[in-house]
């Protein structure tokens, strides 16, 4: 069989690694710490939850540095073959699919509230007595600015800051695409510049988003406590913001690697994965802009 070995390039199966169990420990500490921190914060008690949470995040950071470091070293040593590259790409695609389903849960909650829960509370379908007996003053409108129990808020408009943020994120997807084209054509300088521009746009988006939250809380009275409209607004935009943050971190790591001279036309999985993630986050925003802000 040894005569055939040239035809076949071996799939790289890594040796033992310390990082997975460090990662498991990190997630365990984060879950335990976050759980206790939530409980303590809700009772406004002093406790140890946030220390455990902090320790978990620290361990997670160490794990990510160590694990990514190993991956990058192995990749640079040429241990990876085309088949392994396919594994990574498919793995990343399925991961993004799982993220789509995560957002679907929150979009589902939004659609259900708008199409079913709120109209029913207002007496639609066969729920006339619900409206009459429980909350006769309740009006079923969307955005739901007055909840059945009387909490009021103002709706967030789509013009102005949200529209600008949409433009910023769409442009950042385009600039990232240009960065990718530059990588394919081996124009390193252009690659670096387009990538930096993308990251800057992402950070501006996050800044505006933070400003919008301040505006919502301070001026509009739109908070996590202001009924189903505020709930869907904050959880959808909040989880989206977390994903932009993660995407920006990934792009910053990729920028570091680009500056270190990594990635070529044929060896660019890390860059590609981060780019896919960024485009995915952009698409989620477009849906969000339509269904949360405009309609």
């Amino acid at each position: 069989m040894s005569t055939k070995k040239e035809e076949y390039s071996k799939y790289y199966v890594p040796d033992q690694s310390i990082w997975p169990i460090v990662g498991a420990l990190a997630l365990g500490l984060i879950a335990f710490g976050a759980g206790h921190f939530t409980i303590e914060a809700s009772k406004q008690e002093a406790g140890y939850g946030h220390y455990i949470l902090g320790a978990g995040l620290l361990v997670l950071l160490i794990m990510l540095v160590g694990w990514f470091g190993d991956q990058i070293r192995e990749s640079r040593q040429g241990l990876y073959n085309a088949q392994l590259g396919r594994s990574y790409k498919q793995g990343m695609s399925w991961f993004i699919f799982s993220e789509v389903m995560f957002f679907l849960a929150f979009f589902g909650a939004l659609f259900y509230a708008r199409m079913i829960a709120v109209p029913w509370l207002g007496g639609a379908s066969n729920n006339v007595s619900t409206g009459e007996i429980l909350w006769p003053a309740f009006e079923a409108i969307w955005p739901l600015t007055t909840t059945p129990d009387g909490t009021t808020t103002q709706a967030m408009g789509w013009f102005g800051l949200p529209l600008m943020n949409t433009a910023i994120l769409v442009v950042s997807s385009v600039t990232l695409h240009f960065a990718h084209v530059a990588l394919e054509e081996n124009k390193r300088k252009a690659l670096t510049n387009w990538l930096i521009l993308t990251i800057v746009l992402g950070l501006i988006f996050l800044g505006f988003q933070g400003y919008e939250y301040v505006h919502a809380y301070r001026d509009l009275g739109l908070t996590m406590q202001s009924g189903i409209y505020g709930n869907t607004f904050f959880l959808l935009t909040g989880f989206h913001g977390l994903h932009v943050t993660l995407g920006a971190i990934l792009l910053i790591i990729m920028l570091g690697r680009v500056l270190a001279g990594h990635f070529t036309k044929d060896d660019q999985f890390g860059f590609q994965a981060a780019a896919w993630y960024w485009h995915f986050v952009d698409v989620v925003w477009l849906l969000l802009f339509v269904f949360v802000y405009i309609i």
Partner: protein, 533 residues
């Protein structure tokens, strides 16, 4: 490829790998990237959780031995039903299937390992942490979660204790573990098949896991979303599931069952694959209708996204919605019937023998079908108004999950134990295990149909006097079934310590598949060079 790599894989045909060295000691298990090690850890972990969840069930059955309150108080009873469900679903059945997938899929498709070996180890080691956190909530003020494994709002929001926060976060990391495990399986199957192993040549266990992995990736994130909403409703003042803020507790049930119904297929599709491997082996005939099995599995998975509200007929829905979900649910009986027909046809005029894996598989076919029939009864909307939340439902899902999923896992364990350990299992003990389990499981679950139809509600620690006799019989069956599983522990330990006759590479005459072409026990690394199929 670099030369350092290519010269480590010469002369692999005989599978007597010259570099078949295993790391030793505890580090082997903590840092491993080997699919066989990880598979073994999953399987042992799942068995441990099976015993933990099982002892909770025995606590329930002890309390229900007679009417009135004897042993545990109602709040603790609720903790027991909740944690029994959570542990059996997420700690016992799912990890067992992932363990089997880890061990068998790379060997069945001729791959050197799982596609992403390090992530594989991460997926496993998250689980012990998740369950430590979950179980630690027993020691909190107010105790562990007591809202049922389905954690319906507002039980889990307005009326729950503080253990909810730990429940939510441990569900989150458990979900990450499942998603990573599923991504690993699906990528392994798509990308690691040996040359010639095209999709329609894959063993059915691989096919069923392929589809299961898709279901996992699709619905575990929805579970993550819904537990997040429970967390924010309870602690951060949102009102997703509170009508006073414009939300709706029924929304919880829709989201939960959108996850929950595919989840029940996640827990049964790999069983179909296992049984489809074992029955042909001991009937000494190829599987009847391979392609129809594949299409039936895919149809079941597709339909599983369109039936979730059959868990909610009594919750309140427009009539057309009830009818839609009723008809879609009944439609699932068609592909499932195709499967049962194919298994029976495989055995028809086969040269059958009755080794322990086959006994468990036969019991699976018959008893799972009983569970399927009671499922059809429950699918009929008007009739469900009578059955809903009674012991009839408990009987139904224990027939599909215990005599279905768990029996198939036992069958798989006996079928592949010689391959894993290199020794044959103790035949007498294994048969004893089978017959004790078979008889006791029916004493345990069959009478539940009758008390359920007579109106005994589930999740209640006390009951009306007329249910006393049947509950005593059920409890006796429960304890017999529980202790019968210790026989399996003895069998597994004997194999683990290599006490038994050495097993040949292919201990089952009629077995087919690549896993039987490697020696027993399977070398630490198999198929470094892919076999030609």
């Amino acid at each position: 490829m670099s030369t350092t790599v290519s010269d480590t894989h010469s002369a692999h045909d005989a599978h007597d790998d010259h570099h078949d060295h295993k790391p030793t000691g505890i580090k082997r298990w903590l840092f491993t990237t080997n699919h066989k090690d990880i598979g073994s850890m999953y399987l042992w972990f799942s068995f441990l959780m099976f015993l933990v969840g099982g002892s909770m069930a025995l606590m329930i059955r002890a309390e229900l031995f007679q009417p009135g309150m004897q042993i545990i108080d109602p709040h603790f009873f609720n903790q027991m039903t909740t944690m029994h469900g959570v542990i059996m679903v997420f700690g016992a059945v799912m990890p067992a299937f992932v363990g089997l997938a880890n061990w068998m899929i790379p060997m069945m498709i001729g791959a050197p390992d799982m596609a992403l070996p390090r992530m594989n180890n991460w997926s496993f080691w998250i689980l012990p942490f998740a369950f430590l956190i979950m179980l630690s909530s027993f020691f909190m003020p107010g105790g562990a979660p007591a809202f049922g494994w389905t954690f319906y709002a507002p039980l889990s929001t307005t009326y729950s204790t503080d253990s909810t926060a730990l429940f939510v976060f441990s569900m989150h990391i458990m979900g990450m573990s499942s998603i990573m495990g599923a991504i690993n399986v699906i990528v392994t199957i798509m990308n690691m098949r040996a040359p010639g192993m095209n999709y329609m040549k894959m063993p059915l266990f691989v096919w069923t896991w392929f589809i299961t992995a898709f279901l996992l990736i699709a619905v575990m994130p929805v579970l993550a979303g819904v537990v997040t909403m429970v967390l924010t409703d309870k602690y951060f003042g949102t009102s997703f599931f509170d009508a006073a803020g414009g939300g709706d507790p029924v929304l919880f049930q829709h989201l939960f069952w959108f996850f929950g119904h595919p989840e029940v297929y996640i827990m049964i599709l790999p069983s179909f694959g296992i049984v489809s491997a074992i029955i042909p082996a001991f009937a000494r005939k190829p599987l009847f209708g391979y392609a129809s099995m594949v299409y039936a599995t895919a149809s079941i998975a597709g339909l599983s996204f369109l039936v979730w509200a059959h868990h909610m007929f009594t919750t309140g829905m427009p009539t057309f919605a009830s009818l839609f979900f009723m008809y879609m649910t009944m439609l699932i009986a068609v592909p499932t019937g195709v499967k049962v027909f194919n298994w029976v046809s495989t055995m028809w005029r086969g040269a059958m023998t009755f080794e322990t894996p086959m006994l468990f598989s036969l019991a699976f076919v018959i008893l799972f079908t009983i569970g399927g029939f009671s499922g059809i009864m429950l699918a009929i909307t008007p009739v469900d108004y009578q059955y809903h939340d009674t012991y009839f439902v408990v009987a139904h899902f224990h027939y599909v999950l215990v005599t279905g999923a768990v029996f198939s896992i036992m069958a798989a364990a006996y079928y592949w134990l010689p391959k894993w350990s290199g020794v044959m299992y103790d035949d007498f003990l294994s048969k004893l295990h089978f017959w004790c389990s078979l008889i006791s499981v029916n004493i345990l679950f069959f009478p539940m149909h009758f008390v359920g139809l007579a109106g005994m509600p589930r999740r209640i620690p006390d009951y009306a006097i007329q249910f006393a006799d049947i509950n005593q019989i059920v409890s006796i069956g429960g304890f017999l079934f529980g202790f019968s599983q210790l026989i399996f522990l003895a069998v597994a330990l004997k194999c683990a310590f290599k006490k038994g006759k050495p097993a040949p590479a292919k201990p089952w005459e009629g077995a087919e598949g690549l896993e039987w072409t490697v020696p027993s026990p399977a070398p630490y690394h198999t198929f470094d060079v892919p076999p030609k199929v």
